[in-house]
Amino acid sequence: MEPKIGVYVCDCGSNILGKIDVPKVVEYIQSLPTVTIAREYRFMCSGPGQAMIEQDIKEMGLNRVVVASCTPQMHEPTFRRLMQRAGLNPYLFEMANIREHASWITEDPEAATEKAKALVRASVRRVYYQEPLETREVPVHPDTLVVGGGVAGIQAALEIADSGHKVYLVEREPSIGGHMIQLDKTFPTLDCSACILTPKMTLTGSHPFIELMTYSEVTEVSGFIGNFTVKIRKKPRYIDVNECNGCSDCEKVCPVTVPSEFNMKLGTRKATYRPFPQAVPSAYVIDKQGKSPCSFTCPAGVNAHGYVALISQGKFKEAMEVLRRTMPFAGVCGRVCTHPCETECERGKVDQPIAIRALKRFMADYELKNGREKAQPAERTKKDKIAVVGSGPAGLACAYDLVKAGYPVTVFEAASQAGGMLRYGIPEYRLPKQILDDEIEYVKELGVEIKTNTAVTDIDELKKQGYKAVFLANGAWVSQKMNIPGEDAKGVMHAIEFLKQVSEGKKVELGKRVAVVGGGNAAVDAARTALRLGAKEVSIIYRRSRAEMPAIPSEIEEMEEEGVKISYLTNPVEVVAESGKLARVKCIRMELGEPDASGRRRPVPIEGSEFEMEIDTLIMAIGQAVNKSMLPGNIEYSESGTVKADEITFETSVKGVFAGGDVMAGPATVIEAIAAGKEAAISVDRYLQGADMKEGRPEEKERVKDVSKEGVVEKPRATTSKLPVAERIRSFKEVESGLDKEAAIEEANRCLNCAVCCECLLCVSACERNAVKHDMKEEIVEVNVGNILLATGFKEFDPSVMQQYGYGRLDNVVTGLEFERMINSAGPTSGKILLKNGEEPKSVAIIHCVGSRDINHHEYCSAVCCMYSLKFSHLLREHLPGTEVYEFYIDIRAPRKGFEEFYNRILKEGTILYRGRPGEITDVAETPYEEGKLIVKFENTLIGEKERLPVDMVILSSALEPHENARDVARIFNISCGEADFFIERHPKLDPVATMTDGVFIAGCCESPKDIRDSVSQASAAAARILALISKGKVETEATIAEIDEERCSGCRVCNLLCPYGAIDYIEEKKVSRINDAICKGCGACVAACPSAAIKHKHYTTQEIMAQIEGILV
């Protein structure tokens, strides 16, 4: 049928006619050959306007219509309905936007008229080719997703649910209630906020049609109106919502206290908490932010945060229990650990790290001093016997874990006493034997059998005795040689043997001048021991410099204090003996070259720098190796001469035989040996249970990300005292003393509680209902809904960026929400308005528009501050009669019901209002009267004078602003944000709760700042819109989608990958691609890319657009 086109150009009153010469446009359009009729009318969208078009269609037989008026966003649906009424397909209609795109933005009327002509002409050309299209209807899923559990979300959820339709209410906080539940009273009626909201919250929590998902966030949305699929991430609450009865037993025992977000950080809460007593759900939640750096870093996984937190509460016994969950060596590690935990401690970024090692020692010493209870023997639940060879830290740690797992464990020790290097390598002055003995005793009490004086070299023999698994932890006891001439002379000894003999109480002959070769802990220990044995001069010969010395720095310092000299960059080249006895050592000076494999700079000898040192005794401490003669013959070794074992499972080349500690890794720290023993224990258990030894290992741990240091006041770390040097060098008395109880508690209280929950697990035993589940995992839930409502609210503007107001710097400058909490009887001060010094203020200034109506921050008005500020005046006067209250305003905005009346009431109550935005709040007094006060500096703009007003407290009425992640949220739901990041409504006047994305609605402060009443109104409006869609039960799908002409398709599949929705399938039999019209959204990506022009974009066909291009440019 030949197109017959009618064109209707709208004056839009003067909106178009005022700029564009409409008659001229009509005259021109009428002259176009394809146009049947062109007309002008005052308001084309009006009844008569539409009637005129309808009449023309009928009388003239028009089959295509162009309306030139406003943006199609506005009236395209109006005219499409007109087409349908007139019996024409709505897609045979086109709109030329000559108002927004020509009349309103063009200054020159002539240019505007020419532009209008071109736009209408283009539409005429385009409409010529337009084709009738059919839409399909799809059902609307009757469930709804509401995001945000503030008053708007609650209201909407209740309204929808009350109609008998299911609502998923997702809230990211542990309780619903939003900001409204934080407020004390609401303006202008002075209703108690909690009193009016909590009934609604309770209803929401118990409503049969509402599924509440607190502590959850939406992560992904797909689909479209009527059929959205939503993924919701349920954060682990670590407390079973269904089991928890809110008894607060867990909260009482929790040792971790952190600032309460609900109380604007004016008060505190526990790590196990409920934001406020009326929370819905009433269940508690555990705030777990991963692992604290200390616990995360410990090679053996000792929960340092746990015992530090318990020490801070004086719960020393419980603290020991936390440590003993992992290993038995509090006293040992509290003395000799290299404490990587302290290196990572976040407190170190503020001042100094927590003295974690000293705290560990404290709790062990405290227990020992007060009499340790005998350990309960571990329950023997398993039959398989396990042999551990070596009773050093690795062996005992392994035995400890396995005996606790229920196995019969026997430790074989070649020496006369258990302890390995802990006993024979570490001198008494660092680790008193009594401490070690007690901790070994504890392991024995648990049920570990230790057989001393029993060397094991034959594993088959062990197996014959019925041992099903063996852990080799023999250590590395052989001193390495230097391979220099004269090394075997009398007077040359090796550090390990030397230390062992001293430990065993054997007499060792030492000369007066002793030199120790090496820079590690063994060297330092040997030197200090030699000194204590009476050597007159002790020195260290080290081939590198101080920076490369591997010994613990504090040990080196103590050694130097004691008088040991260190010759850096020096290396012995020959031992000169006289009559078979050491006399001198020939040394050479070294310099540092390129870094070697260990990353340290390689020492290089300086030629001709040889010199001699007069020495009686030389102790070699240059390294330790594994004693292969003490190991089974059939075991494999690594290149470095240690027992070869898997790095994760610690299994050796022999099945059922495991190895760890120095024997496998070479000489290392105590804590690393313990770690290896523990890992081996896991493997042994899995091996004996026939489980996969590698699965899930190494264990994935998440280190806490950001640790807030806000408000942390610097405080020095607890120090321990040391014996005076003179006393030290005469005996083997322990050098360092421990912390006393008070110092330990104080030190533990410096802890920042990085990961919040310290996993002490006291809550687990406190809970009678077994509701605490520390192993709870995050869950992703998928739900299908037909509609979505976003009611994600706002956050309060942080006024600390406005430095002139001193928030965060000056005491007694608070924000509006802080004041709400302060004045609330359930708040942190129980409703008392208090200054930092605990006194009540006698004068208060309230500053309006902080962050609002300010081009430096937010240009918009936050809509509620005038009223809540006036409310504060009233409440201040009510709580503290006689208080002077001053309000600083720019304009008072009181446009709603009862607002102006409220304003008048406050004026009558005697609040003094100054018009003018204060320039500064200062504590610098100019007169004695101002001393100790906050001085508000402002211009009283009503009289044009600058003034100073001293007050006790300042309340900053802070702006409402969008959440920081508003843009991300908008992206998830495929809607847009405006410049201030509030969500954009579909139309500012006529469609304020819908968005550009059909089926996604918005309500409350996420759309723009508003009060409770407006939020509730919007929520109700959005609920009504959603219910209308549910009630209709179906929606029309997009007709303007793409379609592939299979005749032209070459099957190249370029389009397949381009489609963001995966709507294009390749039909193998036909070798062509095909678009699924239920999935296609009509973006046109495939159309533009098709090399065969086989894809047609309905209503945006290439032909239509080409015609439009021509029309615009003719």
């Binding site: 966003q73 954009i984 046109g1084 533009a1088 890319a1089 657009i1105």
Partner: protein
């Protein structure tokens, strides 16, 4: 009448077209030279449209889409972002100045930006002068 740059604007319907509407409702004046064609997404703009525009007498082509990450169709604007430089490269081979084609991002809330992009583009094209193929005798400028 003196020569005026003629520019075709392809605007995505979700962000940029609404941004242009906002410029209108906010009465932010701009040069009348850019005339708009609405497309569902900037990714719908075929290279052929741009060539067609030049062929039909345009002196410049402006393509506007949602900001990266904000595409209503998830990632259409990223495809445009990759496509347009290739097109420009090709146009360059034909001796067509790259500046005659401009791709930019205008959101639904950026009425001001829309106006300034239109003005900048108009001035740029004015600077470049008429598109050479259109400079021939009597081909265009009939209305």
């Amino acid at each position: 009448m003196s020569w005026e740059p003629r520019i075709v604007g392809f605007l995505c319907s979700w962000c940029s077209y609404r941004g242009a509407d906002l410029a209108g409702t906010s009465r932010i004046p701009s040069a009348p030279n850019v005339k708009v064609i609405k497309v569902p997404c900037s990714t719908r703009v075929e290279p052929a449209f741009v060539i067609k525009a030049f062929q039909s007498g345009a002196d410049g082509v402006l393509i506007l889409g949602c900001h990266p990450g904000d595409c209503h169709y998830i990632e259409g604007n990223y495809k445009t972002m990759r496509r347009v430089p290739l097109l420009k490269k090709m146009l360059k081979q034909f001796g067509i100045e790259e500046e005659r084609v401009r791709l930019d991002w205008v959101s639904a809330s950026e009425g001001e930006k829309y106006a300034s992009v239109v003005n900048e583009m108009t001035e740029k094209v004015r600077e470049l002068g008429p598109f050479k193929a259109n400079n021939g005798e009597g081909q265009h400028g009939k209305n």
